[in-house]
């Protein structure tokens, strides 16, 4: 079994699930920034994606160049089968850990806010 996903990798994968066909550097970064409220650096996204591609979690596909990008092409990412499996395991693990204490966690979050 592969190692557990890191937090950032976990985020990137969830973003891939959300974005479906439109997952490339900018959209992934925007998605994570919008949902976590953190500022993300696009290079970090690419580094994570490159690592996951090496592990066989994601696949990439080169798109068409656009004028807005100065004539450069996009690189679209998609979850691979192994990635889905890893994501599921990671998600299950998290869910197992949080089972039964959801309301308590809500309180902690509120208390901190």
């Amino acid at each position: 079994m592969g190692r557990a996903l890191g937090e950032f990798e976990h985020f990137v994968m969830l973003a891939l699930v959300r974005l479906r066909e439109d997952a490339y550097g900018v959209t992934i970064k925007d998605e994570i920034e919008a949902r976590t409220g953190r500022e993300i650096y696009v290079g970090a996204v690419y580094t994570a994606l490159a690592r996951m591609q090496k592990n066989g979690y994601v696949t990439a596909e080169i798109g068409e160049p656009t004028a807005k990008r100065g004539g450069r092409r996009k690189k679209y990412y998609r979850l691979a089968e192994a990635g889905r499996e890893a994501l599921k395991q990671s998600h299950d693990a998290l869910r197992g850990m949080t089972a039964g204490i959801e309301s308590e966690l809500e309180t902690i979050a509120d208390g901190r806010a």
Binding site: V42, G43, A44, Y46, A50, K68, G70, R72, R73
Partner: protein, 893 residues
């Protein structure tokens, strides 16, 4: 859709360089897309944001790239470079040899510079060692030794020295234990404080005790050199306490000095020959003259006190000398002490030839680097497609440049390895040939420091010749290169190569002119008449034991008469004579003072005294050595101890001390050796002989006087034997003849007078030869460079030439056209080089003899020679290009 603002270019470049090659396009695209969105709202803020991204990319990149990645990448580069170099072995060999010559020559000369100029003398606190000599107070040049009583006065009267030591060299014969022929040793009589002052401690036994350094010491003490201990006493420790006989005088061995310490550290400081045995001054051979204030035979070496300066020491010494002037006015005429820092004095004479050699090898390395840069540019143009392809496949430019630079560094490494071999061999040659006249040269070696220099040099050279071509090879955009074969950049490339060729030729011209001037100068020197005829004359020296001195002079005279008589009877000998000084002994520094009684002597300047060099000779000396008699007569057997006292002087003597047109014959000269000082005898001038250039042909000679040995005996004479046939056949009989008279007396310094004469010019000759070797190497490299560039330019124009020929141009015209384009480069290189040589030629002035540093003949010859070489180098490709069939040439592309 029009973009409201473009991203900042520099920031864009930073991101481009810092992003991983494989992701670069998407990375840049993403950032630019976001920039475009932001720029719609606030272009200035967008630009600031873009810059922030650049910074983050860079930081990200630096953080991500671990050391391991670096090593891995470099290793990859090295392997790739290795593969790529293996594919062109010819290029590698040429580049390696070229670099090895440049780097090796530099390391070799650096080893000497480091050992001699930078590191200084190998003694404790060597920078505080100071020499003290006698000199003239009226500004006349020249220094000579000090008398022992004066030394004692300096030692007692000065506080700026921690120690003031004295030494004198001697050459006693060490008696063999079985009564066989003795062994002549090089000895140094030293005061007890000398060796401790230099930081030299015995490895066995002890140093001299103060009580051993007195005239009435219970025993005479001796310290052996490591060499003598090993070779004569088999390294036996029981040698301590043993009594040895030196010139039949007993000495007790008290210690052995460390290996490698022979005293040789510049003849100015200690004897210029390795010392075999060290003797305690005041109880040794020097004891005899210790009371003689007129006998100036003591070398003084002192160590400054920690807080004292040379200036202080100088004024103190001058004060002591002032007191001496008052006490001994008859001995001291315009004499003043001269102090020199030992280290400066030791290298004063060689600094220039050393720096000159360093300059020469630097030029050589520059030429070598230029050549390799040229080769690399040539190679780069062949590899632009490879580079473009790799760029298209995602390799970053930085990565490609780095890989090419790694390739250059590998070449430099190969060059350094081969260069180290060249440096080692060259240094060996340099040491044995004595091309640089440096006593310490024996201690020079390729050590860690020199090796570090060599490595640093190789890296610098690798970067110097590699960076330009690497940037060039990776410059153009991949698509342009792949489509067009990169013709667009050919112009820039060939301009760079032409520039390199011009530089190379110019450097070669400078080097060749330097070498040419030294060669012309050597030629001029060898043209000078030395004043004697050295051919076919064998020489050897015989030194009688100390007990012949003074009281036993008649026996000494008789001894040499007897020996000469025996030699005369040997087969092949045409004449024989002996002399205290050979016509080649630059050691004629024994100026003596006298009085002159003549009818019309030249008036002496205020403070001037009569002085000349001193040489007792036996009858037949002038005939045997081939010294021309100008007036009067030479010595005969009648000029004996009982005969009328006579002297022969040289032409320079007459010029200086007689009014022109005066007959010097019959004039009288009063002179007494130190033991005759009470009543100096009077000698009549009976002959005038030609001047002999005893310090070498290039140096002015001096006033000389020749006395009959019978009337001015000495205990050491050199026999001169003129021989028909091979003089070396006579060595054995000469030894045997001496053995018949005294079986224990050794015959030393057997040599040919021709060799002795050549030795004076050895340094000059070797320096010229060394520079010629450098220059010829430089010319060869430059010729290869010219050839390479011309071949390249011609290959670029093969098609054009094919068209010209097809359209009816004659091959000769095409060839001329190519040659002319080559000629332009050659001429430019020559002009720049000649101008350069003209301006830097001055550094050679003091090394030149009879030749001006702007010698027209040398300049013209060098220009013509190099011009022809360069033209031949460009003619070969020109010929080859035009011999190609036009159709083939046209089809070729």
């Amino acid at each position: 859709m029009s973009a409201p603002a473009a991203p900042p270019r520099l920031a864009q470049w930073i991101i481009s360089v810092a992003s991983p090659a494989a992701e670069r396009e998407f990375w840049l695209g993403d950032i630019e897309e976001q920039f475009a969105d932001r720029a719609v709202e606030d272009p200035a803020a967008a630009r600031r944001w873009y810059w922030r991204q650049a910074k983050r990319t860079l930081a990200h990149r630096l953080a991500r790239r671990s050391l391991r990645d670096h090593i891995e990448n470099t290793w990859q580069d090295a392997r790739y470079a290795g593969r790529s170099l293996r594919r062109s072995p010819g290029f590698v060999v040429v580049a390696t040899i070229t670099l090895a010559l440049g780097i090796g020559a530099n390391a070799m000369i650096y080893a000497v510079v480091d050992g001699v100029l930078i590191r200084g003398l190998p003694f404790e606190e060597a920078d505080r060692l100071v020499l003290l000599h006698n000199g003239y107070s009226d500004g006349r040049p020249g220094t000579w030794l000090v008398s022992f009583p004066d030394y004692e006065d300096y030692r007692v009267g000065m506080t700026s020295f921690d120690e003031l030591a004295a030494w004198q060299s001697a050459t006693p014969a060490l008696a063999s234990e079985d009564g066989q022929v003795a062994q002549r040793l090089d000895a140094a009589d030293v005061t007890a404080n000398l060796l401790p002052m230099l930081g030299i401690e015995p490895i066995l036994g002890r140093g001299f005790l103060p009580e051993e350094d007195t005239p009435d010491a219970a025993q005479r003490a001796a310290l052996l050199s490591h060499w003598l201990w090993q070779n004569r006493f088999g390294g036996d420790e029981s040698v301590l306490g043993r009594t040895i006989l030196l010139d039949e005088t007993p000495f007790v061995v008290v210690g052995v000095l460390p290996r490698g310490f022979t005293g040789v550290s510049g003849g100015f400081i200690l004897p210029s020959v390795p010392v075999d045995v060290w003797l305690s001054y005041r109880s040794s051979f020097s004891r005899g003259g210790m009371e003689e204030r007129g006998l100036t035979n003591v070398n003084i070496l002192g160590k400054l006190a920690a807080n004292a300066t040379v200036e202080q020491a100088r004024s103190e010494a001058t004060a002591v000398a002032g007191a001496l002037d008052e006490r001994f006015p008859e001995l001291r005429n315009a004499i003043t002490p001269k102090l020199h820092v030992a280290e400066e004095k030791a290298v004063a004479d060689v600094r220039q030839s050393l720096l000159l050699s360093f300059g020469a090898v630097s030029l050589l390395l520059l030429i070598a680097c230029t050549n390799v840069a040229n080769l690399l540019i040539g190679r780069a143009s062949g590899r632009r497609r490879e580079m473009a392809l790799r760029t298209a496949l995602g390799a970053g430019r930085l990565r490609l440049v780095r890989q090419l630079v790694v390739e250059s560094l590998i070449l430099a490494g190969l060059g350094a390895a081969a260069g180290a071999a060249i440096a080692t061999a060259g240094l060996e040659l340099l040491v044995t040939s004595r091309a640089l006249n440096i006593a310490q040269i024996d201690t020079v070696a390729i050590d860690g420091r020199v090796f570090a220099f060599l490595v640093a040099l190789a890296i610098a050279a690798g970067l110097a010749f590699g960076a330009g071509p690497a940037l060039f090879a990776t410059s153009a955009s991949p698509s342009a290169t792949l489509r067009s074969e990169g013709r667009a950049v050919a112009g820039r490339r060939s301009l760079a190569r032409r520039g390199l060729v011009v530089a190379q030729l110019a450097l070669a011209v400078v080097l060749l002119i330097g070498a040419g001037l030294l060669l012309r100068s050597l030629e001029e020197v060898l043209r000078v008449d030395p004043g004697f005829r050295p051919e076919g004359v064998l020489t050897a020296s015989v030194q009688l034991p100390m007990d012949f001195v003074s009281a036993e002079w008649p026996r000494a005279v008789e001894f040499f008469e007897q020996y000469e008589e025996r030699i005369r009877g040997l087969p092949g000998v045409t004449s024989v004579a002996s002399a205290y000084q050979l016509p080649t002994d630059s050691g004629w520094n024994n100026a003596f003072e006298f009085d002159l009684t003549a009818t019309r002597p030249r008036e002496l300047a205020a403070g001037e005294i009569y002085s000349a060099r001193f040489n007792p000779v036996t009858p037949g000396y002038f005939e045997t050595a081939g010294v021309r008699l100008v007036r009067g007569r030479t010595f005969t057997a009648d000029d004996s101890a009982e005969g009328a006292r006579v002297v022969i002087v040289n032409e320079r003597f007459v010029e200086r001390y007689f009014e022109p047109g005066t007959d010097p014959l019959g004039a009288r000269l009063n002179y007494g050796s130190w033991w005759q000082r009470e009543s100096p005898p009077e000698y009549e001038i009976v002959g005038v002989v030609a001047d002999v250039r005893f310090s070498g042909r290039a140096l002015e000679t001096y006033r000389a006087t020749y006395f009959p040995h019978a009337q001015q005996p000495v205990r050491e004479l050199k026999v001169l034997v003129a021989v028909e046939g091979n003089p070396l056949n006579l060595v054995r009989p000469l030894r045997a003849a001496l053995e018949e008279i005294d079986p224990t007396l050794p015959l030393d310094n057997i040599s040919l007078l021709t060799d002795e004469l050549a030795a004076h010019e050895a340094a000059r000759r070797s320096l010229a030869v060394m520079l010629i070797i450098f220059a010829v190497t430089a010319v060869t490299l430059a010729a290869i460079g010219v050839y390479g560039v011309m071949a390249f330019l011609v290959s670029q124009r093969t098609r054009e030439m094919g068209i010209r020929v097809a359209l009816g141009a004659r091959r000769e015209d095409v060839r001329t056209m190519v040659l002319l384009s080559g000629l332009r480069l050659v001429l430019l290189g020559l002009v720049v080089g000649l101008a350069g040589a003209y301006f830097v030629g001055g550094v050679l002035d003091s090394l030149l003899f009879g030749v001006d540093s702007a010698d027209l003949a040398t300049f013209v010859t060098v220009a013509a020679f190099l011009g022809i070489v360069a033209l031949v180098a460009s003619w070969i490709p020109a010929r080859r290009a035009t011999s190609v069939d036009p159709m083939t040439a046209l089809r070729a592309e």
